[in-house]
Symmetry: C3
Subunit: 151 residues, 3 copies
Amino acid sequence: MPKLMEEEVFKAFATYATIVILKMLLMAPMTAYFRFTRGAFANEEDVARKSAEVRKKQFRTHPDVERVRRCHLNDLENVVPFVLIGLLYALTGPELSTALLHFRLFAGSRVVHTVAYLGALPQPSRALSWMLGMLVTFSMAYRVLGQALVL
Amino acid sequence: MPKLMEEEVFKAFATYATIVILKMLLMAPMTAYFRFTRGAFANEEDVARKSAEVRKKQFRTHPDVERVRRCHLNDLENVVPFVLIGLLYALTGPELSTALLHFRLFAGSRVVHTVAYLGALPQPSRALSWMLGMLVTFSMAYRVLGQALVL
Amino acid sequence: MPKLMEEEVFKAFATYATIVILKMLLMAPMTAYFRFTRGAFANEEDVARKSAEVRKKQFRTHPDVERVRRCHLNDLENVVPFVLIGLLYALTGPELSTALLHFRLFAGSRVVHTVAYLGALPQPSRALSWMLGMLVTFSMAYRVLGQALVL
């Protein structure tokens, strides 16, 4: 029955969509890692078992934690639109090679973006990787609108 | 025509996806509720009709409002990936009972997570419910990659 | 092969989903615009090439930047649920005219919301446009649950 999953383009979409979503999900454990190593928590119940002194000190924000959180939010802002528009794009029946080019470029751009963000690499590494991802999504949106325009 | 909606697994997916998205959407009125009861607004135009004194006092952040907002953001970070990967998972044609187990566990985990977050319940209640939801999404992603891998 | 894209309702969904996602994506360059014109950056590497004095001054938050960021987050919280539930809704085979009414109202409500937010228009313009969008999503969710309920 699941005919969609028998088509190469849709399988390629499913593969890359899953990869970039997993990458995004991994930002959460990474935030937790920085919260514990830097000792910076946002909720009282997270530090409830510590001594009063430590509790007061660790109930705060920390630049490294905020950096991971911004990176996570940027993923939400870019990865989710890619997956949603990519789904519609895959349904327009593009060439497999063209589709793969889009998906690979996007996945690569987000890996570079995360490394550039978390490593605080000199600009414009982060800006360019973010822009490349946007352009891929715009290119797919252009095809979707070209094939499906019903206003 | 909508063949997908005649399959039990897809209908089960549609049901649970809608439920967890509605749960996520309800965080917005809840934020509004806390903003009004705690008197804590983020925009000048939201307090424009109040007296100058109240206006100055209520143009601020409040811990209860920030807590709901973190809970809402956590929903975005976890519910959206569940729905996106769950859609692909439903298309791989899993057993209905297996699929239902995934969907029910996830929906349950997010209800517990919200209660634990808003009620500031002692840890690790919130951490465990969050992890359970992540594991369900990982399990579905594993099946999607196993069935659809085209790199 | 892509049968879905031959149906008018699904094409209408694809059109409006793409439009509201593009609108959401454009909030990112708008944030960048306000960061540059207001001189307010969140990362050290973003101001690394400026003089020490400017660097210290521009490593800060600015109300205009925070406003765009809240608007962007509100888009994420509302546009993504619309697209996800709208996809399921389109698969339930609604009347084209009913579906178009939903999609047009939502797209219109989000344009008004963005204008009201960025322009800091007097309330309740922003509140009402946000509520209208929510109601459209609720209405589609109601139909999905009515057609697909498998618990």
